[in-house]
């Protein structure tokens, strides 16, 4: 099975203190450390586990710049067979639909049975997967938290739905799935693994290679534009319960019950 995973490099929320820049239109990016968007990492792991059983190759693709190669190497160190960087000045400022258009161009150049995305980018809006599927006219399922390969080019997938329930569906290949974290336990990638793939060439594709109309992507074509960026005001701090242990427990039970946490 040929699997394509669309991944993205994002500021790591657990290792950064996010502050606004002085202009107030973006976050301060000078001292940020980046990593692969967490759900995308689960998607790569899932792809690797599928090909380990069913055979095939995993390709990881990202739309971005030179710096984004870093996450492709990390995913290749994990075991992905190929990494592809899609980069072109014409792509800068694309909205979700623009990114989906770019990825569609790439998908059509290859022969992928399954396309995975993370459920959402930590700095994005969970929109690319669905739009990409629609543009390709592929079936799409979101929030997938289990995949089983069936005979006859079909998958059996589990989806997380509200209230912690699960829904099991069948879906035809080729398809696009957005992967929920928790579907697996991604393997660890250390510096040693990354060093081992440091010199593997990563092809870069631009407008001409993908045959994309530059007018359909990039800032000019974006129909969703960010107009503001702000940190919400800090709300009231935590409420400290006081009293003896029993009293504290009683108050806590009361509070949780009042919010509908206990039935």
């Amino acid at each position: 099975m040929e699997i394509l995973v669309c991944a993205r490099r994002v500021p790591d929320t657990s290792e950064n203190e996010i502050t606004l820049n002085s202009a107030g239109n973006d976050i301060e990016r000078d001292e940020l450390v980046y990593s692969v968007n967490e759900p995308d990492n689960y998607a790569v792991e899932e792809a690797l586990q599928i090909v380990a059983k069913a055979g095939g190759n995993v390709t990881v693709v990202t739309v971005g710049g030179e710096d984004d190669e870093e996450i492709l190497r990390r995913e290749m160190a994990m075991g992905a067979h190929h990494g592809v960087l899609i980069s072109d000045e014409a792509f800068n400022g694309s909205d979700g639909r623009g990114i989906a258009t770019i990825l569609k161009g790439f998908v059509q150049k290859g022969n992928y049975d399954l396309i995975l995305t993370g459920v959402q980018a930590e700095d994005g809006g969970a929109q690319v997967g669905g739009m990409l599927a629609a543009m390709l006219d592929y079936p799409f399922a979101s929030l997938v938290n289990s995949i089983e390969v069936l005979d006859g080019r079909k998958l059996k997938i589990g989806r997380e739905i509200a209230g912690g329930n699960r829904e099991i569906s069948e879906i035809d290949l080729p398809c696009v799935l957005s992967i929920q974290t928790g579907i697996n336990e991604p393997r660890y990638v250390g510096m040693r693994g990354i060093r081992a793939v440091a010199s593997v060439p990563i092809p870069t594709y631009g407008v001409s290679e993908l045959g994309i109309d530059p007018g359909a992507v990039g800032e000019a074509a974006a129909r969703v534009k960010r107009v503001d960026y702000f940190l919400p005001q800090l709300g009231k701090g935590a409420e400290m319960l006081e009293g003896s242990r029993e009293e504290v427990i009683d108050k806590l039970v009361e509070l949780v019950a009042a919010k509908g946490g206990l039935k």
Binding site: E15, N16, V33, R187, Y188, R192
Partner: protein
């Protein structure tokens, strides 16, 4: 009836069996040689282990831990029994050879043991055999009746080893009995034939047996003599050939195991012996994944283990019900070796150890506290094996999710918490503190002889920052010209290495080494025993490194630090030895001397202290790992302090502080038990001349840090 013979001649009663004995000799020796050769097969396929240096130090280990049985008295009953058995065996070595030769050449006399010397030696061996026999009886009774808890085998680790242990003990008892019967029958025969009777030691086993046999007929005595010899011979060779199939192989292997024992404390073995750091990238696989990834010495450890259970009896992970019991790390590997390197047929080694022999949690459960290694009479190593198994898991990407985040953060930010590098020195910038004790950053513009290496937990943890400030104040108080690396410092990587991430450790180490060298410091001080151990043993070519407890102790001696009496004379203090200060670096007395120098301070020892200290739960990455356990190690430790009658636990490690303070809460002992770091206590108690203002500042800071939690 045979005629009376010359006194010098012994009745050749064994002559008729000579051919039989010769055959048994040859079979026994050939069998043993073959078995040992087969046991060596995996060792020859194992990884390199360079342990052929420093012969004098190694002979010293053999003398101390072998001949002098150094570790044994730590377990009173079993230890003393073992010392008697061992001493008995040593006495009987020459006799054993003598008895074997007698079967082929009956009039043989050991060179140097004719005449008087021989008589003395015989008396000694009579008693030795008796002592060993009695010890076997006691040991069997102990195993069957008293059943010390540490010999029990939990179900998950297989069947009880009692039957095998008793069988081996019984075999030795039979051997002693046969040897004694042999002497007794000969002496009785000599007496009946009017020959010179070999004197038997009074009340020894041979002596008593001789009394029993005194009235037997000469032909019966001859049969007994012959039978006893045959029994001795068969038992001896059976035992010899059976030992390599179980715990008694240590009789043969321990000499080598002690000689090749690890010489340096606190260190971790290289990924591959003989491969330099620069060439590590070319090594295809890191760590231990299959059995042959172990080094030959580690395999020798498996063979040498006597299954005494002392390691597990002292293992904190085992004590709190984690899935780790060091004893079974060894015995499972031994069973694996026996099964996969059989006496006949092909050996097989393709099975990954993790998932088959060991579980992941079993290997992650270790805090590398070193209690097991401290206790092992045969100096079996555990930490290096655990680290090697972890290296294998890391290399395969098989790492718990809970550890992946901190490892990634260490890679990108140089600390496991993912905090910003620029905030690393924030602890020193607390306003009141900075006014009273400004701390220099050795950034090329500022210079100092002494570098205070802070490390991550003290730099970033709100509570532990107080240890950093106390350390700085002490250094300042004794007039030390010191500074810190500030943002140029990264995590020491101590736990990174011990959790098996060697490549990341090397990156952290190289960064720090460059920063330390650039600082121009001639001496390093740290208050974190993990950093201390890393700088001392994991880093190379560093200036001398001292732990703050050593600095305080020497300044108390020099008189630069004097103490005010403790305010509350009712408090009872106890000192908890951090593993990486105590066991791994042998610093036991300095912290205690400091405490004892504080007027009015009452100090008690916990029953587990010094080299038997009980790990608080581990530091660094161990704090991120979520083990399956019944109770926290720290909670056990806090209870031990309470049992000792203490209400203040003094420690000298920020990780101990985290664990112990948490444990006090978990155990519900808030208000009844407190914990304080040695540096904090020193700073609080040290006498300052006209520095009242500063004291006030300290109080405020402490309040602030408490509120900040």
């Amino acid at each position: 009836m045979e005629g009376i013979q010359l006194a010098t001649q012994v009745t050749p009663w064994l002559a008729s069996g000579r051919t039989l004995f010769l055959i048994i000799h040859l079979l026994g020796i050939t069998g043993f040689a073959y078995i040992v050769a087969m046991r060596l097969v995996p060792l020859l396929r194992a990884q390199r282990d360079l342990r052929f240096d420093r012969p004098l130090a190694r002979v010293g280990k053999v003398l101390k831990f072998g001949l002098a049985q150094w570790k044994h008295p730590r377990y009173r009953v079993a230890g003393i029994l073992h010392i008697f058995i061992f001493a008995g065996f040593i006495c009987l070595v020459i006799r054993a050879f003598y008895v074997l030769i007698v079967g082929v050449s009956e009039n043989f006399v050991m060179p140097g043991l004719s005449g008087e010397a021989g008589h003395v030696y015989n008396i000694i061996t009579d008693y030795a055999a008796t002592v060993v026999f009695l010890c076997m009886v006691i040991a069997i009774v102990r195993r069957l009746v008293f059943k010390p808890a540490r010999y029990a085998v939990p179900e998950k680790f297989g069947k009880a080893h009692t039957a095998d242990a008793v069988f081996l003990l019984a075999l030795i008892a039979v051997l002693m009995l046969a040897d004694s019967l042999f002497s007794a029958a000969r002496a009785a025969g000599q007496a009946q034939q009017g020959q010179t009777v070999e004197v038997l030691a009074a009340w020894s086993l041979p002596w008593m047996l001789k009394s029993l046999l005194a009235s037997s007929s000469l032909s019966a005595l001859k049969d007994v003599y012959f039978g006893a010899y045959l029994l001795h011979e068969v038992t001896f060779y059976f035992l010899l050939c059976y030992r390599p199939f179980g715990i008694q192989f240590h009789v043969e292997t321990s000499l080598f195991n002690l000689y090749f024992a690890k010489l340096e404390r606190g260190t971790v073995k290289p990924v591959r012996y003989g491969v330099s750091d620069e060439h590590l990238d070319q090594v295809k696989s890191f760590g231990v994944k299959t059995f042959e990834d172990f080094t030959w010495k580690h395999m020798l450890d498996f063979y040498s283990c006597a299954d005494c259970g002392r390691c597990s009896d002292n293992c904190p992970a085992n004590a709190v019900g984690r899935p780790l019991s060091p004893r079974f790390i060894t015995t499972k590997a031994r069973d694996y070796a026996f099964q996969h390197y059989p006496m006949f047929g092909k050996s097989t080694n393709h099975q990954p150890l993790i998932g088959n022999l060991y579980s992941e949690d079993e290997i992650w459960s270790c805090t590398t506290c070193g209690a097991c290694e401290e206790e092992c009479p045969l100096l079996v190593e555990y930490i290096d094996k655990i680290v090697d198994l972890r290296r294998g898991m890391i290399d395969d990407g098989n790492v718990p999710q809970s550890l992946q985040k901190p490892l990634k953060a260490l890679e990108s930010r140089g600390n496991p918490y993912g905090k910003m590098e620029k905030k690393r020195a924030d602890w020193a910038n607390a306003k009141e503190f900075r006014q009273t004790c400004p701390v220099k950053t050795l950034d090329g513009k500022n210079h100092a002889d002494t570098l205070y290496f802070v490390d991550s937990v003290t730099s970033y943890d709100d509570r532990m920052q107080s240890i950093g400030r106390a350390t700085a104040k002490i250094l300042d108080h004794v007039g030390e010209n010191f500074g810190i690396l500030g943002t140029a410092e990264k995590d020491s990587g101590h736990e990174v290495r011990r959790f098996g991430e060697e490549t990341l450790f090397m990156a952290l180490r190289d960064h720090n080494v460059d920063a330390i060298k650039a600082s121009g410091a001639k001496r390093i001080v740290t208050a974190d025993p993990h950093a201390f151990n890393a700088l001392k043993h994991d880093y190379k070519d560093m200036p001398p490194v001292e732990h703050i407890s050593q600095v305080i102790a020497s300044e108390v001696k020099s008189g630069k630090i004097t103490f005010n009496a403790v305010e509350n004379g009712k408090d009872v203090y106890t000192y908890h030895d951090p593993c990486y200060l105590g066991r791994h670096n042998q610093i036991y007395d300095d912290p205690r001397n400091v405490l004892d120098a504080i007027p009015g301070l009452k100090r008690v020892e916990m029953s587990r202290s010094r080299d038997r200290s009980f790990c608080c739960g581990g530091g660094g990455l161990a704090m991120f790992y979520e083990p399956k356990e019944e109770e926290r190690m720290g909670v056990k430790r806090v209870r031990m302090a309470a049992e000792a009658g203490a209400n203040v636990i003094v420690t000298a490690c920020p990780f101990c502080m985290v664990n112990i303070e948490d444990a006090i809460k978990v155990a519900g002992m808030e208000g009844k038990m407190t914990a304080i770091d040695l540096a904090e206590l020193t700073e609080k108690q040290m006498m300052r001349e006209s520095r009242v203002l500063e004291t006030k500042g300290t109080v405020e800071i402490q309040q602030e840090s408490v509120a900040g939690r």
